[in-house]
């Protein structure tokens, strides 16, 4: 099934994917072992479960898709792992536990659980825990329903580890992880008259360290940083980040291509990364006027916007990611290409996630899209790009140079063996 979201947990030991069929698959990194040096640190399937089912809203006569839009891991507090998964309307909290021991030697029951004939019991024994094959159990602990009229596009766990927020096209709600029958609306941009609607919320995230701050992005390309201490309803932003339109690049599609599809705080909390249709931008929280860095993802598409509007590709929502040290940023593109930009060296690379070009343990070859002029041997021309092969979802391990890239219904995990530590 088509993968719709990818997310590492806070240690990077687990990697969760959600798909269009409502399933969640969790991968676990195998511990490094001397016996099999080649399989050190590889990810194997750990658990699979059905998170959401298709639902039918009888009142509005609408089908609610089971597609998982986002997964976010909760920080781990005990042996169990927890994650939030959401579709368009309902968020669920899942608890993942391991069972590798079971009690044996009951007095009243035999090994199959049947009651013993009491006359055969002559002495008392204390049940002992014996090892068993590892069993991973997943159970739904909370269901946060009926909080959203419109489609949920983001969820974000607060650094206070008690609350989280969920955002749809027009509203953002704050939930407590333990309370399912109530949520607080903290942002509402629905106009009194729907005729006046010109902008929707596209993504939102809590600040990684300050539990009172969060950001949300809009379809007009603006970012709003809000402080929950200022007011109960954060309709008024504390900071508005917006870059003025470049007059030389103006077109009918200016607004569509400026629509922010993803926003991510840096690990440091000092910067934000945004993705719009043609670029990724790094913003400094201290400067609202413009981004401090702009990287072109596929500028060669600028002259093809009309065709991309016609086939709706211009509305594709790409995600972006930071590496653990905030020195490299990554985002997906078309033709199963994804791009990485090194903020320090200003070098960038285009790589491809496909079976043909990546055998296990082979080194990925950098790709190049040629835009006329001299064409090198392995270059791809713009006109032969496959726009149905889009890499919308990518994730970067929180500490190491390991990335997860979703190409339609395939998941690719790439590791940088040479430079495993962050620079």
């Amino acid at each position: 099934d088509i993968i719709s979201t990818v997310e590492f947990n806070h240690t990077g030991e687990l990697l969760a994917t959600g798909d269009k069929g409502g399933r969640v698959v969790i991968f676990q990194r195998e511990p490094e072992s001397k016996n099999a040096p080649h399989s050190q640190g590889e990810y194997d399937v750990y658990s699979t479960f059905q998170s959401h089912e298709p639902e039918f809203d009888y009142l509005k006569s609408l089908e609610i898709e089971e597609k998982i839009n986002k997964i976010k891991w909760l920080p781990q507090h005990n042996a169990a792992h927890s994650l939030l998964s959401t579709n368009d309307k309902t968020i669920k909290l899942w608890k993942i536990t391991e069972r590798d021991k079971r009690p044996e030697g009951y007095n009243l029951k035999d090994e199959e659980g049947k009651l013993k004939d009491l006359s055969t019991v002559t002495s008392l024994q204390v049940p002992v825990l014996k090892p068993m094959d590892l069993m991973v159990e997943v159970s739904p602990r909370r269901v946060f329903a009926n909080g959203h009229t419109y489609h949920i596009n983001s969820i974000s766990v607060n650094s206070d580890c008690e609350t989280y927020m969920s955002a749809d096209d027009l509203r953002i709600n704050l939930w407590h992880l333990a309370v399912t029958d109530r949520s607080f609306n903290i942002v509402d941009i629905k106009p009194a008259n729907m005729e006046d609607l010109t902008e929707v919320i596209t993504a939102s995230e809590f600040h990684p360290h300050h539990c009172n701050l969060f950001v949300y992005s809009s379809s007009k390309g603006s970012l709003r940083l809000c402080d929950m201490r200022a007011a109960a309803l954060c309709d008024k932003h504390s900071k508005l980040f917006e870059e003025p339109e470049d007059p030389s690049n103006r077109s009918f599609f200016s607004e569509i291509i400026s629509s922010v599809s993803d926003v991510k705080f840096s690990h440091s909390g000092r910067y934000m990364l945004t993705r719009d249709y043609l670029t990724v931008k790094v913003w400094d929280l201290n400067m609202e006027a413009r981004p401090i860095e702009t990287y072109q993802v596929h500028d060669y598409l600028r002259s093809k916007l009309c065709s991309l509007y016609e086939n709706d590709c211009i509305f594709d929502k790409f995600e972006c990611a930071w590496n653990g040290s905030d020195s490299v940023i990554m985002t997906g593109a078309y033709n199963n290409f994804f791009r990485m930009f090194d903020r320090n060296t200003k070098r960038d690379v285009t790589l491809e996630a496909s079976r043909e070009s990546s055998k296990p343990r082979a080194v990925l070859k950098p790709r190049r899209v040629c835009v006329g002029g001299k064409r090198r041997r392995d270059d791809i021309s713009v006109d032969s790009l496959d726009f149905t092969k889009k890499i919308l979802h990518t994730a970067w391990h929180p500490a190491e140079n390991i990335i997860a890239v979703a190409a339609t219904n395939n998941l690719y995990i790439f590791q940088d063996k040479v430079n495993s530590e962050m620079h």
Partner: protein
């Protein structure tokens, strides 16, 4: 042939041009965005394309709001560019132009789908929808005579001289107070299931528009109270 990246104009030139006209940058041939636009990107075909997209979006049982808003805003830009050249001092916002877009967007909210019903009826009269958009090369030129209007600008024809608005005021007033949020989505759901128009919509369009009229009749009947609420019968289901 691949077009190279646009040429940047000098700053002074740009500022000079901006003082002359009200935001008519789309007409300025020296602008790279305009200069490199191939014939299919002319305003009128873009208008038709946007209306088609909007129509398609509204027919979904639950439209993607982001897609809808972006298409409506693009439609507004295109529409504004197709309006006659402004000779007056700059207005804060063009009042006639967003009217079509506004009406279309208002109807995305369940409570206002009555406007959508009348709008769909109006859309069925737009010539351009029944034909493939034809690139009219002389479309966006300033020298176009004031009275003429090319065939695919059917929508603008409906912007009457007096009202400048697609909706008949009386009709709008009739539906204003009625809360139809309970009934609306139900009525449109079967339509979207049955039709799902694709990008090339030629032969299916007439069929789609016929269905609208049947549903429109039904909606009117429900609102007037002559018919109990039930799933509307439709052709081909």
């Amino acid at each position: 042939m691949m077009l190279s990246k646009g040429l940047k104009r000098k700053r002074e030139e740009e500022q000079e041009k901006e003082t002359l006209a009200v935001d008519t940058w789309w007409l300025d041939p020296s602008l790279p965005a305009v200069a490199q636009a191939p014939p299919p990107a002319t305003s009128s075909s873009l208008f038709d394309l946007s209306v088609l997209k909007l129509h398609h979006s509204l027919r979904q049982s639950e439209p993607d709001l982001r897609h809808l808003v972006l298409v409506v805003n693009t439609l507004r830009r295109v529409q504004a560019s197709m309006a006659p050249e402004p000779t007056l001092p700059p207005m804060p916002s063009p009042s006639a132009a967003p009217c079509v877009a506004d009406s279309l967007l208002a109807s995305s909210d369940a409570a206002l789908s009555a406007s959508m019903a009348s709008l769909l009826e109006d859309l069925s009269h737009i010539e351009g929808l029944s034909q493939a958009p034809q690139p009219l090369v002389d479309e966006g030129l300033p020298g176009r005579p004031a009275g003429g209007s090319p065939p695919s600008l059917g929508a603008l024809d409906l912007l009457g001289p007096a009202t400048g608005c697609l909706l008949d005021d009386e009709l709008e007033g009739l539906f204003e107070d009625i809360d139809t949020s309970m009934y609306d989505s139900e009525l449109w759901a079967p339509a979207s299931e049955a039709l799902k128009p694709g990008p090339e919509d030629g032969p299916g369009k007439e069929e789609a528009l016929e269905l609208d009229e049947a549903e429109l009749d039904y909606l009117l009947d429900v609102l007037v109270g002559t018919q109990a609420l039930e799933r509307p019968p439709g052709p081909g289901r």
